[in-house]
């Protein structure tokens, strides 16, 4: 895990995102344990309260759950739900900023469409 300390995104959100990324890429498999608060806090040198806040975010979204006395585990089906969530957020997170930058550069929708197709082919 790597944090960006200059980023706009608060540290606890970055932690949630990185764990989510790891689940999505299969680094943490479903029904498998994720690293403990101690481990994350130590490795990244951040306050455990910040780590807990990040993990709680994933608990609220039901991506991970707590097994008493054992730790946090990835929920069955989490990977699929992350994919669906990201598909929903794609327009907001990628298309809108792309269009905003394209407008600043005076690029037409036609040009964008062509590039989009070229990108898919390559």
């Amino acid at each position: 895990m790597q944090l960006n300390h200059e980023s706009e995104v608060p540290i606890y959100v970055q932690i949630a995102q990185q764990i989510e990324d790891a689940i999505f890429m299969g680094a943490f498999e479903e029904e498998q344990q994720i690293p403990s608060t101690t481990e994350i806090s130590m490795q990244l040198k951040i306050n455990p309260a910040t780590v807990r806040k990040g993990i709680n975010r994933l608990v609220e979204e039901d991506m991970v759950y707590k097994k008493r006395g054992l730790g946090m585990f990835v929920r069955q089906g989490a990977r699929k739900r992350i994919q669906e969530k990201r598909q929903k957020e794609f327009y907001q997170n990628y298309i809108l900023p792309l269009i905003s930058e394209a407008k600043k550069l005076d690029l037409s929708p036609q040009e964008l469409r062509e590039w989009m197709e070229r990108g898919y082919e390559e």
């Binding site: 300390h5 806090s41 490795q43």
Partner: protein, 282 residues
């Protein structure tokens, strides 16, 4: 809730006020950053709490008991500072043994682990250690005594980058396993920013900020753009400071960030270090 409470404390040296009527509270189980420029009064505050100095006025309580001339209350604090209070010819292993007697306990197993991790030679005498290893044996003591309050004044003095990194990791490890109040006072703000839960900034002997790290970082923002546009934008806003390079200006502002600002300017969050520098520069 258990806490160290500093109530309306003032202290001056030879007529020069160092702390002026300050009130601050350090709660149980939290990691605090006590930040301030040289001479801001950080060490004086820690010395007052630890009964090494006496306040001119005001009162300090440790878990509800008076801090002054009270061995039971003082026994709850380990104060690590640059100053060496151990006899110069005492061997490090004896420092640890003495600490065990004095504080009524010492985590020998964890100390062994730390001694190895840092490569400390416990057969050396206090006077034989470099500045870095002098900090290291005090840090080991601080982390191994069973006290609820640990003050670390410039804890990484003389430590190289690798040892500093190791120390921050170990601090997090031991803090998760046994939460206690840790007050970190250092000039290396960037390095400790993410370790902190709460920040107290002293400036000219007064409390300038006392809030959670998160609130503090959200209390303002940085905006960069064409100088003339920035000048217009900051009208009527609370400006902490400005940087300019050629026709480009960066303003450090307090307050809520207006919606849609990103379309016109480069906007970035404040970091603890930047905020500190802007708050405490003349």
């Amino acid at each position: 809730m258990n806490a160290i409470e500093v109530c309306k404390v003032s202290k001056s040296f030879g007529g020069t006020p160092v702390l002026q009527d300050i009130s601050v509270r350090f709660e149980e189980g939290k990691i605090y950053g006590l930040l301030g420029r040289n001479g801001a009064g950080k060490s004086t505050l820690l010395n007052l709490i630890n009964n090494r100095l006496f306040p001119d006025s005001g009162q300090i309580l440790i878990d509800g008991q008076r801090a002054a001339e009270n061995d039971a209350a003082q026994g709850k604090i380990y104060f690590m500072s640059e100053k060496t209070l151990y006899p110069r010819d005492m061997k490090i292993k004896h420092v640890f043994r003495w600490s065990k007697d004095f504080y009524g306990g010492f985590d020998d197993a964890y100390a062994q682990h730390l001694i190895q991790a840092f490569g400390l030679d416990v057969n050396k005498k206090v006077s034989q250690l470099s500045t870095g290893y002098s900090s290291i044996y005090k840090l080991i003591t601080a982390l191994c005594v069973p006290v609820p309050y640990v003050f670390l004044d410039e804890p990484v003095l003389g430590l190289d980058a690798t040892h500093r990194d190791l120390f921050y990791k170990l601090l997090m490890e031991t803090y998760v396993e046994r939460p206690r109040t840790i007050i970190l006072s250092t000039h290396l703000i960037e390095e400790i920013a993410n370790l902190l839960e709460h920040v107290v900034i002293l400036n000219h002997g007064m409390v300038c900020r006392d809030q959670t790290c998160e609130e503090l970082l959200q209390s303002g923002y940085m905006v960069t753009g064409k100088a003339s546009e920035i000048d217009a934008f900051i009208q009527g806003k609370e400006v902490l400071g400005m940087d300019a390079i050629g026709g480009l200006k960066t303003a450090y502002l307090l307050g809520e960030r207006p919606q849609g600002l990103e379309d016109a300017f480069e906007v970035a969050p404040l970091t603890l270090q930047k905020l500190f520098v802007k708050l405490t520069s003349e």
